[in-house]
Amino acid sequence: MNFLPHTETELREMLSTLGLSQLEALFADIPEHVRFPDLTLPSPLSQMELEAHLRKVAGRNANASSHECFLGAGAYHHYVPATVDYVIRRGEFFTAYTPYQPEASQGMLQAMFEYESMICQLTGMGVTNASHYDGATALAEAVRMALDLASGNRQKIVLSPAINPHYRETVRTYLHGSEVSLVGENTVPDELDSLLSQLDDQVAALVIQNPNFLGQFENITGIAEKVHQAGALLIVVADPIALGLFQSPGSYGADVVIADGQPLGIPLSFGGPYLGIFATRTTYVRHMPGRVVGETVDQSGRRGYVLTLAAREQHIRRARATSNICTNSGLMALAAATYLATLGESGLRKVAALCFHKSHYAAQQLAEKTGLEVNAHAPSKPFFKEFYVQLPRPVDEVNRILREEYGVIGGFDLGACYPGFERQMLIAVTEMNTKAAIDRLVDALVTVTR
């Protein structure tokens, strides 16, 4: 049997220790009529066959290695330094449990402490937790935290329509069990003013994404003041790569910053596992969901790290913000820590700059060569690594041609989520797309849209 170590002799010895003659006798507590069902599962494969089989299954997927990828919309094809996979594959991390025994888990705990430190720097916030499942769930828990801070006296959340639609849907699901209402989603994606007009004394938080789902920077001047005047929190969904170059949400007054940490050294992996980044003001540390690692000393004064603040109020009252998070994305946080340590200050700035310049080059070439309109709804707004173009044909049709004839995974169909954005394709350009590849995309679109 695959990983079972007992020899026949050992098995007999062990059974005789228990005074039994067969293993099945251990299951007498289980109702007999349902005991030991015949399961219809495929016959087992050897490791050799398994590897070949899975290679074949994987081979049926187009992917960012087999194709040139211009698809983003929340998950991005970025370079993963070799150090990252090397570190996270170490069995000491990979096969460890959650670091509840600090003496035996100093490695993971210190790595999490460093992760928290670097994310605080990146976001401009005071504290960071040791991760959530992904960006969407981090946002859902941020919203719950805001409701908790309002002690149940504010029952509204303003969500910008320019937040990733999947994030908004997740927030909605997480709030099914409450009386909270979500507003703002029906406003125009490019107008923060109409969003701000939703603020009143019932609003616990206003959430924006910056750069937003359409790739563009929001005009955040004065927004924190307005939100705070209304007694609400400002929650910002960020792109961690953009933070290498652009203002941190902490610097413009955000109260909570969440992000999906996938761009920080985590492969696309068909949507998961990813990394939910959650950072907030130090004032709110006792309301922050999730685990957090802190520094301390051992009994002889040596420095060490532990999971701390376990008894935070929300765990005990268990109702207001309350989070039930337990297993999180520890290994992915380790990947992000390794990524940030490897790239360092200059490396991260460079990635951000490459994304910016390459996407602007692509946008400018497309506008120039195809004549298609770029960022039609707000052409003057600055953007980071994504922009959208108005196609003369349905997006899925164009994408099929791009894939089949040019080996390109094209952009995201905004019309699927935003009325009024039909035939708008959201294109993501990262450091992975060379000038030659961008030129090929432009040429292809020139042909396809002619």
Partner: protein
């Protein structure tokens, strides 16, 4: 307060950092540059504050950290309720195939047929193993699976117009996440006591069941490692009052191939892929908590799910995503922990039906064997055949040591401590789960260590009170950690080591 002693501690990335040091991984910009929007940039004075390290600094640092971490690959982890079994290495090789690792979650269905096939098959296999009508792979961890199930119950009763059902019954031996998920889903918790055999008190359950009950959350085998013998009566009791039964599948490791929770009448249950199906715990995640549902709740599962389409004109079937009819909605950004699915798929395919059953048999054998070996050394919480785990009391006659002391001392013997003080209903609980992948030699060695510790508890209790002695650090001051909060590196260290770009 004594000064902090830094000897023997691994420097942090900031302490290792030097101004101007770094790596150079990124290519030069090959396109004409566009002027940056100055007003939006971090100010010149506002550096990010990331460390400057060479690649060797990074590698050596994280290897040092790895060396300060216990793991299944490194040693025996008898951690009750956590199922720390061996994580097959073949799964890692498979999961890193570019087709899996480099595919984008928003690609059209027809370009990711391999992924969809894998998800579809895994769904089907989990349905078969658990006896359910449908499975959603979406929940990202067991706790999220729990929350999802409760939200589904809530939607179900709302649809039936039964909004008066506000109570969720939870046994007093339940996982701590159960009540937290309950309140998150807008329900109230009613805790049901256990009887003297460690099972749910049926009389209490009867007293609790009425038309305000939405459901019961039941872990079976329960957290004492005991199978609920009256499971069918329990389920009937809850169903008769109109409630639903949620199964916490955390302990499915003992049941795969042995009994199908769906056959016992469980309406909805989460699986922990990182327990039952041998995917790694990753030092605290990622997990994966797929949800199986019976006929009543199947339509409420979070989507998308995968459907197979058999096309007579093509040799291979096609696969497509679909949203269940009455879905409660999405629980995360995409499909859940896809990378974990690949490993669980590989695990099931490697084992087949008989292999899974043998795993359960051996897991239960190992637990009972170890339990027998430790009989008389430590008091047993309940003296009856256990499933895959059992609970001892960390109490020694004539000694002041406690469960925590015993567990910490185990580290000096090279073993990870068991889960302690859980379940709460057993004083000084030591919860031990050996799993099926540990050999008799390991189990014997562990039993010997436990006996030696019991003797030390009488002879030199102070050795236990101050254990562990051989780990990189000793017992840590958790009160200081919580009172003098330091959750990030000092600003001063960050600033001193800024790498001016």
């Amino acid at each position: 307060m004594p000064e902090i002693d830094y000897r023997n501690s691994e420097k942090t990335v900031y302490e290792l950092s030097a101004v101007g040091r770094g790596t150079n991984l990124m290519p030069e910009c090959d396109v004409p540059k566009t002027a940056l929007p100055g007003a939006l940039l971090r100010k010149d004075t506002e550096t990010i504050g990331l460390p400057g390290l060479s690649e060797l600094d990074v590698v050596r640092h994280f290897i040092h950290l790895a060396q300060r971490n216990f793991s299944v690959d490194g040693g025996f982890y008898p951690l009750g309720s956590c199922t720390m079994k061996y994580n097959p290495k073949i799964s890692e090789a498979c999961a890193r195939s570019e087709g899996f690792a480099q595919s984008h979650p928003l690609q059209p269905d027809e370009t990711v047929q391999g992924n969809l096939k894998l998800m579809h098959d895994l769904q089907e296999w989990l349905k078969e193993i658990g006896g359910f009508a449908a499975v959603s792979l979406q929940p990202t961890a067991g706790a999220q699976g729990e929350l999802t199930a409760l939200l589904m119950m809530r939607a179900f009763f709302r649809n039936c117009g039964e909004t008066g059902r506000t109570q969720i019954l939870i046994p007093d031996s339940a996982h701590g996440t159960n009540p937290a998920s309950t309140t998150m889903a807008g329900f109230e918790t009613l805790e049901i006591p256990s009887d003297e055999h460690g099972n749910l008190d049926l009389a209490a359950l009867n007293a609790a069941c009425d038309d305000t009950v939405a459901g019961l959350m039941l872990t079976n085998p329960n957290t004492l490692g005991l199978f609920e013998r009256d499971i069918e009566t329990i389920v009937r009791c809850v169903h008769d009052c109109g409630g639903l039964v949620y199964g916490d599948g955390a302990n499915m490791n003992a049941l795969a191939g042995v009994v199908r929770p769906g056959d016992l009448g469980i309406d909805v249950m989460h699986y922990n892929l990182h327990k039952t199906f041998g995917t790694p715990h990753g030092g605290g995640g990622p997990g994966s908590g797929p949800l199986g549902a019976g006929e009543k709740l199947a339509a409420y599962l979070p989507g998308p799910l995968v459907r197979r389409i058999d096309n007579v004109e093509k040799p291979d079937p096609g696969y497509m995503l679909f949203i269940p009819e009455k879905t409660i909605g999405r629980m995360n950004s995409h499909f859940g922990s896809f990378g974990v699915f690949v490993r669980a798929y590989a695990y099931i395919l490697q084992h087949g039906a008989e292999g899974l059953k043998q795993n359960a048999l051996h897991a239960v054998l190992n637990a009972n064997y170890l339990r027998e070996k430790l009989r008389g050394v430590y008091p047993l919480s309940h003296d009856r055949t256990c499933m895959h785990e059992f609970v001892l009391q960390g109490k020694i006659e004539g000694s002041s040591v406690r469960a925590v002391d015993i567990s910490k001392r185990l580290l000096d013997y090279g073993f990870h401590p068991p889960t302690i003080y859980f379940p709460l209903i057993v004083p000084e609980a030591l919860m031990i789960e050996p799993t099926e992948t540990e050999s008799k030699q390991t189990l014997d060695a562990f039993a010997e260590a436990m006996k030696a510790i019991a003797q030390e508890a009488v002879d030199r209790p102070e050795t236990l009170h101050t254990a562990p002695h051989t780990t990189p650090v000793g017992r840590l001051d958790e009160v200081r950690a919580a009172r003098q909060l330091k959750l990030r590196e000092d600003d001063r260290k960050v600033k001193d080591n800024l790498n001016k770009a």
